[in-house]
């Protein structure tokens, strides 16, 4: 299938990407060519075939190719080394000391 510019704009909105109007045609054509190529998958008969669950190694593959694996651990608080903590905080774009600032998700509708 092909993609219209309106559909592309919608995808960009979903993906939180801004695309300038002048660039829409270029993105549409290049992404459209890939969608046309992957359309060949729809012609394959996959009735009764499970979706692959894991490509993990060893016995995790299972006998029929669609292996399953779950890995659990106890929910234990682990210490963070001070230098790691300092670098994590330093990476924040907006901060004052250890006060980390992010933008409001909800806006006050009364204003």
């Amino acid at each position: 299938m092909s993609l219209s510019n309106d559909e592309l704009k919608h995808l960009a909105q979903l993906a939180r990407l801004r695309i300038e109007d002048g660039e829409l045609d270029g993105y549409r054509d290049k992404i459209g060519a890939v969608i046309e190529y992957v359309d060949q998958l729809r012609e394959l008969d996959t009735r009764g075939v499970p979706e692959i669950a894991s490509a993990g190694g060893g016995s995790a593959f299972g006998e029929n190719g669609a292996g399953e694996i779950n890995a659990f651990r106890d929910d234990v608080v682990a210490d963070c080394p001070e230098d790691v903590r300092a670098r994590l905080l330093a990476a924040f774009p907006r901060r004052a000391g250890d006060l980390l600032e992010v933008q409001a998700v909800f806006e006050n509708r009364d204003e």
Binding site: I35, V38, A55, A60
Partner: protein, 485 residues
């Protein structure tokens, strides 16, 4: 004393360090000098680490003091720019992470350091590993040491070029659809994508998490095995890692390939391949045959659908993984009046066009109304591809074929045609979809440009890849050729 890095292997360096005929300081100085001399032309390194020489001197002191040393003690190694090193910049080839500093060491870095390796710098890559030519990097394209007008392949093109040009004896890369093996092939070095789950990705900047693996690029199969032995193993911080009992680096004296069953998937020898590549790969298979390997034709019936399945599966996961780059917690932040505006501006300015295309494509295949037809169907096809390998490995131990359908192409040649670029990965994709290990090693030259032989093996059976690869390298000297720059 001067050190010629051009012919120096990891094993050779380790041996000379152990017998005292060279120091780590000398090796690291030689590496840094080679980078200073050749990198302006190649752009294989984004930057070197300032502390490398101090680390080398500390390694020498430790050895001199009789301290315990690891198998890579004092050997210079480079890492791809998507692997975190604490306190060092790591950018994934992207503007959005231009000033980002790694908060902690990736699991592979912890293990390399524990083995004694000296990290000399970070290598260039396609932005977020999205590319097959290392041209989408925000830090400029890397060039192929065999012909500077040509691409090194990608996305680990910086690591491949660095090893091929003798800047370091080995480097780490990451492989989601061929990003270690394809540049290894195009640059004439060895590249290994380990079994999915063999190596921890903790501290790897994720692209497509069900496909990503970290692996080595080196001059010899033996070196790749040494590197893998150092970085592999279960890690509680990556739940996909499997505990593997076998420490499996083969002995130096290869046991040969007598009785090894080698399959040639007929789907890997079809139209569209450069005839010269086909001939050289066929010659390489004959070398294994003369060594006593049994050659037979096999089939991977769904291999022709692998690339299409990949270009649904990979962008779906990449679009999710890259959602974290929102201008809030790290990286570039372009504040707008409202949150949505901040997201949009940050991602518009921070990501390059190929990354945006894959995010949009991934959003499409996951979106309401299309997810069943594209994403879920691709995951079923992936099961079929995995089953093909299971069936083939009932008959043979190793699968042999080309790594790339062509030799290195000219810079810019495929840059504006993503689909043609994607087709260059047609033989490497399947291993990622099926989770099996695969190795590329040099098997000749076409008009002066390297060609790679690709071998696949059963999950966790890298040992068979090393067995066949070491035998081949004992009988040939393609891997010993040096790119004249």
């Amino acid at each position: 004393m001067s050190v010629d890095l051009n012919n120096l292997t990891v094993a050779g360096a380790a041996k000379r360090l152990a017998d005292g005929s060279v120091t780590s300081e000398e090796l690291v100085k030689a590496s840094l000098a080679a980078i200073e001399e050749k990198n302006p032309k190649l752009n294989a390194f984004v930057s070197t680490y300032e502390r490398a020489l101090d680390d080398a001197r500390a390694a020498d002191a430790r050895r001199a003091g009789g301290g315990e040393v690891g198998p890579l003690h004092g050997v210079p190694v480079a890492v791809k720019d998507n692997i975190l090193v604490a306190g060092e910049r790591v950018s994934a080839g992207s503007r959005i992470l231009e000033n980002y500093v790694g908060a902690y060491d990736a699991a592979v870095v912890v293990r390399l350091k524990a083995a004694g390796a000296i990290l000399v710098g970070r290598t260039n890559m396609d932005e977020f590993a999205m590319g097959s030519s290392t041209e989408t990097s925000h830090y400029g394209a890397t060039r192929n040491p065999w012909d500077a007008e040509r691409v090194p392949g990608g996305s680990s093109g910086g690591s491949a070029a660095a090893v091929a040009a003798g800047l370091v004896p080995a480097a780490l890369g990451s492989d989601t659809g061929g990003s270690i093996r394809q540049p290894a092939s195009l640059c004439g070095v060895v590249g290994l994508k380990p079994t999915y789950g063999r190596v921890s990705r903790y501290g790897l900047i994720a692209m497509a998490s069900s496909l990503d693996q970290i692996g080595p690029l080196a001059r010899t199969v033996e070196d790749a095995a040494l590197l893998l032995a150092a970085i592999q193993g279960a890690d509680p911080k990556d739940a996909t890692t499997v505990s593997s009992p076998d420490a499996f680096v083969p002995a130096l004296e290869t046991e040969g390939v007598k009785g090894l069953r080698v399959g040639l998937p007929r789907e890997f020898f079809v139209e569209g391949m450069d005839e010269r590549v086909k001939d050289l790969v066929t010659d390489a298979v004959r070398v294994l045959e003369r060594g006593g390997a049994e050659i037979r034709e096999v089939s991977l019936p769904h291999a022709p659908s692998a690339l299409a399945a990949y270009y649904v599966n990979m962008p779906a996961e990449a679009s999710s993984n890259l959602g974290r780059f929102d201008g809030m917690r790290y990286g570039l932040s372009m504040p707008g009046a409202r949150l949505e505006e901040t997201y949009g501006r940050t991602r518009e300015e921070g990501f390059g066009p190929e990354v945006k295309r894959r995010i949009l494509l991934g959003t499409f295949v996951l979106s309401a109304g299309y997810a069943d037809a594209y994403y879920r169907q691709a995951m079923k096809v992936r099961t079929l591809i995995k089953r093909d390998f299971d069936e083939a490995f009932k008959e043979v131990d190793v699968l042999a074929g080309p790594t790339s359908p062509s030799v290195a192409w000219k810079l810019g040649e495929k840059f504006d045609d993503p689909l043609t670029m994607y087709l260059s990965d047609i033989y490497t994709i399947s291993a990622n979809l099926a989770g099996v290990p695969a190795l590329s090693l040099p098997c000749g030259f076409a008009d002066g440009l390297p060609v790679g032989l690709q071998l696949h093996a059963r999950p966790l059976d890298e040992a068979s890849l090393f067995r066949a690869g070491m035998f081949y390298q004992a009988k040939t000297d393609w891997h010993a050729r040096v790119a004249e720059m």
